[in-house]
């Protein structure tokens, strides 16, 4: 993060060959992609807002998400909170990997990126459990399709069973986010293997870790919004 001193020669500043953003091509393209992806997620969450604003009733999250593995206690939102912390922690380990990369500390990058992959994998497994619990519905059993929560059946709105938007938004919003987590874990793992092989050490910089790091932080960023607008508000 050394401060760059820029001496602009106004005589040649407009001659081309300069980047007004002082970022590498790859990093800038990653930002462009993230902006477009953020608009997609923004569209999803705003559509959710439309559904909530126009629906007659909307299930209360504390009364839907109160399960926790290995116990029958009523613990509203605690499991989602745990998932949120897992993702935040894996975001922290990622930023530590990027920091280690800026010091050319191969062992450090390897360690922190490895933990990031582990954190992402734990999040995915947690989401699998969350989905199976959600699909089982209020009766808590994955039985017949007729009383499970699916795209065509919403057992969480007994007063309004024809309004399927609650289950649909759950599957699409968390599913689209979960798919991003999945690809993120995959990419992080591939970069981890490259780090282990010393590819970036030989290259002289760890910008690839920084670029996949941007994607990984974005996944965490989206979850912050999903958590608020799906589970809290």
């Amino acid at each position: 993060m050394a401060e760059h001193v820029e001496n602009v020669d106004t005589a040649t500043a407009w001659g081309g060959g300069r980047s007004p953003f002082r970022a590498t091509y790859g990093k800038m393209m990653m930002w462009f992609f993230l902006v477009s992806d953020a608009l997609t997620f923004g569209g999803f969450l705003i559509a959710l807002g439309f559904a909530k604003a126009s629906a007659e009733s909307w299930p209360v999250a504390e009364k839907v998400f109160f399960h926790f593995p290995l116990t029958h206690a009523n613990l509203p939102l605690i499991y989602v909170a745990l998932m949120t912390f897992i993702l935040i922690v894996s975001s922290v380990t990622m930023v530590l990997a990027v920091e280690a990369g800026h010091r050319m500390d191969q062992k450090g990058v390897q360690k922190w990126l490895g933990w990031t992959v582990v954190g992402g994998a734990i999040f995915l497994i947690s989401q699998g459990w969350e989905w199976s619990t959600f699909i089982a519905g209020p009766d808590g059993m994955i039985s017949t399709w007729a009383d499970n929560a699916t795209l065509t059946n919403n057992p969480y709105s007994p007063l309004n069973p024809d309004d399927l938007r609650y289950t649909n938004f759950f599957f699409f919003v968390t599913g689209f986010h979960g798919f991003h987590v999945f690809t993120g874990v995959l990419i992080n793992f591939l970069v981890f293997l490259q780090v282990k092989k010393g590819v970036y050490q030989a290259r002289g910089h760890y910008e690839m870790v920084e670029k996949v790091g941007l994607y990984w932080h974005f996944v965490d960023l989206v979850w912050v919004f999903v958590f608020t607008f799906f589970y809290l508000v």
């Binding site: 993060m1 002082r22 930023v95 790091g213």
Partner: protein, 123 residues
């Protein structure tokens, strides 16, 4: 390599972003600060979600806006510190943030207004 930071040659900017052990210490301190901030805000959100978000209470609008403000604060720190955008070139920072904020606020305004209108039509 020539000592210029403004040329578009492959990864010529990347090595310039390397820092020393000393600088790394300060950055790590900042990372832990953001970590604690995110954790505290999330914990507060969860407790508010469990104990305060009774939908009928007159308190609900306050709670709702508190959630939204805390979310935006968390997003700000993730983007500016974790994604490092706060330390990038000013032009890049504005180029990323301003169009996004503009479009998303415009879309929120249009669609939520329509949503409340449609909802009022049903009831």
């Amino acid at each position: 390599m020539e000592n210029r930071d403004d040329l578009i040659v492959n990864d010529s900017y990347a090595p310039l972003s390397n820092h020393t052990e000393e600088e790394g210490k300060a950055i790590r301190k900042k990372i832990w600060f953001v970590t604690i901030l995110l954790s505290v805000l999330t914990t507060v959100e969860i407790f508010m979600g469990i104990y305060l978000s009774d939908r009928d209470a007159s308190l609900w609008p306050v709670v709702k806006w508190a959630f939204i403000i805390m979310t935006v604060v968390k997003a700000f720190y993730i983007v500016m510190e974790f994604m490092h955008l706060g330390h990038e070139n000013k032009a890049l920072r504005r180029y990323i943030i301003i169009p996004y904020i503009f479009f998303i606020i415009y879309m929120m305004f249009l669609i939520l207004k329509e949503g409340f209108f449609v909802g009022a039509g049903y009831n």
